[in-house]
Structures are given as structure tokens and as C-alpha cells.
Symmetry: C2
Subunit: 255 residues, 2 copies
DNA sequence: ACTATACGAAATGTCTGACATTTATTCCAG
DNA sequence: CTGGAATAAATGTCAGACATTTCGTATAGT
């Protein structure tokens, strides 16, 4: 839709970054189709009653994350979802702040986790230091602690993210570590969609603890299996199945 | 080193992005230690004879990639390498343009490839479309074509990157696809370090072709094995070994 | 002597208005 | 109908002033 700037969003009073967040959320929500021209700077200035400077800084952030492409004389166009920098931490923040996450993105990110995270757990089991273990355990304790009260869902999600992020960290590879930031959107989406599932929490906590135990005992195989079980439950809760095709890795049967 | 702005780099005449590249290269080369204060805007303006606007835009890019952190009143400090956004495509470009890449980064990126890429090849063997195959083959032909002439090293590197990138694309997952952009630096580094190795090119081409054949025949296991062989040769050329520990993934033997 | 408050220097953040540059369109001559 | 120059519209850049945050310092009070 060539949605005019009027419809999508109310004005904003925060700094430049707040404006960027507002616009990013609009794009992530699919307000503009790929290839469509974005509103001009002038109009954005007017609509948000912001200086051109703030608008330009905000647009620069969007451009830096691959959401839009700006060329002098032509204007600003929204880029295809394939060109978005999904691994940009800022992007993860934007996605996590979205109330209704882009369905395709959630599926894609989760499919990635499904394939990669068991392997990361293997690495963690081999490379984790005492500090790493402490971090993982601390997150686990936080999850258990905030599990009872349904009013502390947000806190619980934070600890959940911290748990998995700590595992990525424990791989002791900078690249894998960066990917831990991808988790937040998918976990937040999970929490939102599965809150009505009763009693699944105890089960989830138990599975998480098994991952921790396996890593603590330096048992890569067990860590991989336990992580697969955690993700399998999550996949079921999210209704994701293992979307396209391969669950984790085809041992020997191609089809 | 509290290297003054004098020493590191000659002035620049390009746009704002060019300046960002210059500064990024300086940081990636380790001219400033982590936590150290970066030169003030004023000094950068003077040294590069650039307007404050360009300097600010450049610094904003660096900040967006996690290289620096700016806070009003305090100044600009260089962030720790652990906080750099290695998966930001811009970062890959900067690293690729560096004549002497950061040794730790090359090792980390390659360690990541070593662990992940065989798996990506499995995915590609399962999900590749005809178009994907065409893309991979085209890159392979380009590699063969430019292999003979040592003066076309750059072109050869481009085709090499295109080959591996096409495989990441063929996984048909947006997250893995984004990671294909990580390859350029490590491949460029490889080309620079292995140009004196005679006769290794034919061998390398043959291994690449085997990867392609396996994907074309929809054989995930063969694709994984072939990719492992490609990377093993690359690792040997780079002198990386498989640094920390795990080569690809312990099928059943933990050690 | 020590603490607490107030002041001021120094850095980044923001606003404003003008001008430069690139791109697509339009209009006119050939 | 085609080619090219003028024009309009968008983003990119510059310059200067002002606002805001932070830290150090001086000063007064206890």
C-alpha cells in the first residue's frame, strides 16, 4: 500500500533514535511494500514536527540496517526483505519491540535457531569456562524464580534470552557470540504465543536445566540433544513445525 | 597507543562514507586500544579538512557498527572487539578493504566458517533450486576461467566469494543468507597469503567442483564432506589449523 | 581537613537556512 | 519521431549558532 504518512503512526517526541524506531516498526509491519517509495524528508519533518536533521539521522539508521535505500534525486525506497540486515543488533531490538512481529521473519529466525543452536551448544560444552557456567546458571535461576508469577512474563523472557545468549557466548567464537542477539525477537514472540499453554512451563524449565547440566558436564552430545528438545518444544508452541525441510541435520537419509 | 590523529592516516577527499572507511580501517588496524578515547570532532574536522557534518556522519556509521561509543559530554571511546558488530555487512566491507586484516578476526571468522559452512552446504543440497545451481555453476566457471592468469587474482577472489555466497543463498534461509557476506574478508586474506603456493589452484578448483556436484545431485552428506575438504585446504593455506577445538561436529566421538 | 554545592569548561547533540549535486521529466528544435 | 537542453524535485553537503550532558574545579560550609 502506498500508505501516506498520515495513517501509519502518531507523532513522536523523543530523540532521533526514537523516530528511527517508529519508522522501523512501520516498515517491519509491512506498511510499505518492497520497492515502494518512502515519504520524502519534507513530509516526515512536517508530520512528526521534527527538524530535518533528526529525520535525516533517523533515515540514516534505517539505511544502515538495509531497510531503505536512498539515492540523491531519486528518493527513498523500501528494500526487499532479503536485503535487510537481520544480524544487525539494532534490527533485533526493533523486531523485539514490535507487538506483532513479521511472521516470515520469526519463522526464518527460528528455522535458523533450529538448525544452528544445537551445534552451538556442542561448542559451548567444549569451550565453556567457569564464568560462562556461572552466567548460564544465573539465567536459569532467574527463569525458575520468575516462572511462578504470570505478571513477570517480561522478566522471565529476559532471563530466557540471557540463558541462550550465555550459551552463544560460551562458544568462545566472536561470530557465534554476535548471533546470540538474534534470539530476543524469537523468544519474545514465543512468550506471547504460548502464555495460554498451562503447565508447559515446568517442562520447559526442566529441559533448560538439562542443557545446563550437559554443558557443565562437558558432554557435547548430551548438550546437543537437550538443546534439540528445548527447541522442539518451542517449535511446537510456536506452531512453526520445522518449516521448510531439515530439522537439524539429515544423518543419512536424504528424503 | 594514544596515537594522535596526525600519525594514522592522510586526509581524504571523498564523501562521508569514504571518511568512515578511513577511520574504520584505522580502528580495525588496532591504532586505538579498546576503551581509549577517540579524537574529538573538532580535531577530525581540522585534520581531514572536512565539515563537521561529514565527520559526524562518518562517526555515526562507526557507532552503528559498534566500533565506537559516543556519549554527550564525555567524548568518543573505542569499544572492545567483542562488541563489534561483525555480522554487519558494512563491517565485512571494511575488513575486506584492509591490506593487513586483523589477525584475530580472520581466525575467528574462519573458525566460524569451519564449523558452519559444511552444514550450510547440507542445507543447500536439500533446498537448492535451478536458479541457485545456475548461480553456483556460473561462479565456478568464473573461478576456472580466471585461474590461469595470475594478474586476475582479484577477479578470481570475487568469483570465489560468489561461489560460497551462492551456497549460503541456496540454503533458502534469510539468516544464513546474510552470513554469506562474512566471507569476503576471509577469502581475500586467503588469496593474499596463498598466492605463492604453486599448483594448489588446480586442487582447489577440483574440490570446489566436487561441492557443486554434490549439491547438484542433492546429496547432503557428500556436500558436507566436500565442503570440509575445501575448508581444510584453506585452513592449511591460512595456517589456521582448527584453532580452538572442534572441526565440524562430533558425530559420535566426543574426543 | 573533609564534604557538598555551585560554577564553568569541554565534549557531543540539535536546530536552522542556504547551497550543491544527482536524477527524472518536460519541452523544444531538428 | 528522436536528441538534447532546461527545469523540477529529491537527497547530500556546508556553515554557524545554540542546547544539553558530563566532568573537573573552585569555593563555601561544617
Amino acid at each position: 500500500m502506498t500508505t501516506l504518512s498520515q495513517l501509519p503512526l502518531p507523532p513522536d517526541a523523543g530523540g532521533a533514535q526514537a523516530l528511527a524506531t517508529t519508522l522501523a516498526h512501520a516498515i517491519l509491519s509491512g506498511k510499505w511494500a518492497s520497492g515502494e517509495t518512502f515519504p520524502r524528508e519534507r513530509d516526515l519533518c512536517e508530520h512528526f514536527s521534527a527538524s530535518r536533521n533528526r529525520v535525516r539521522n533517523a533515515l540514516a539508521e534505517l539505511s544502515g540496517s538495509g531497510l531503505i535505500e536512498r539515492t540523491a534525486g531519486r528518493g527513498t525506497v523500501v528494500r526487499d526483505i532479503e536485503d535487510w540486515h537481520l544480524l544487525d543488533p539494532q534490527m533485533s531490538e526493533w523486531m523485539a519491540g514490535l507487538e506483532a512481529p513479521h511472521p516470515q521473519l520469526v519463522r526464518e529466525v527460528f528455522a535458523f535457531r533450529l538448525s544452528a543452536e544445537p551445534f552451538v551448544s556442542e561448542l559451548a560444552a567444549l569451550a565453556a569456562t567457569g564464568q560462562d557456567l556461572a552466567r548460564i546458571e544465573s539465567a536459569l535461576v532467574g527463569m525458575c524464580d520468575s516462572a511462578a508469577d504470570p505478571a513477570r512474563r517480561e522478566e522471565h523472557a529476559d532471563h530466557d534470552v540471557a540463558f541462550h545468549d550465555a550459551i552463544y557466548r560460551a562458544s568462545h567464537n566472536l561470530v557465534w557470540r554476535q548471533m546470540g542477539l538474534l534470539l530476543r525477537p524469537s523468544i519474545v514472540a514465543l512468550i506471547q504465543h504460548s502464555h495460554h499453554q498451562a503447565g508447559s512451563l515446568d517442562d520447559s524449565l526442566e529441559r533448560h536445566r538439562q542443557v545446563f547440566d550437559a554443558i557443565r558436564l562437558r558432554d557435547p552430545e548430551a548438550a546437543r540433544d537437550a538443546t534439540e528438545r528445548v527447541l522442539a518444544r518451542t517449535a511446537a508452541d510456536l506452531g512453526v513445525e520445522h518449516g521448510t525441510r531439515p530439522l537439524t541435520r539429515p544423518a543419512s537419509l536424504p528424503d
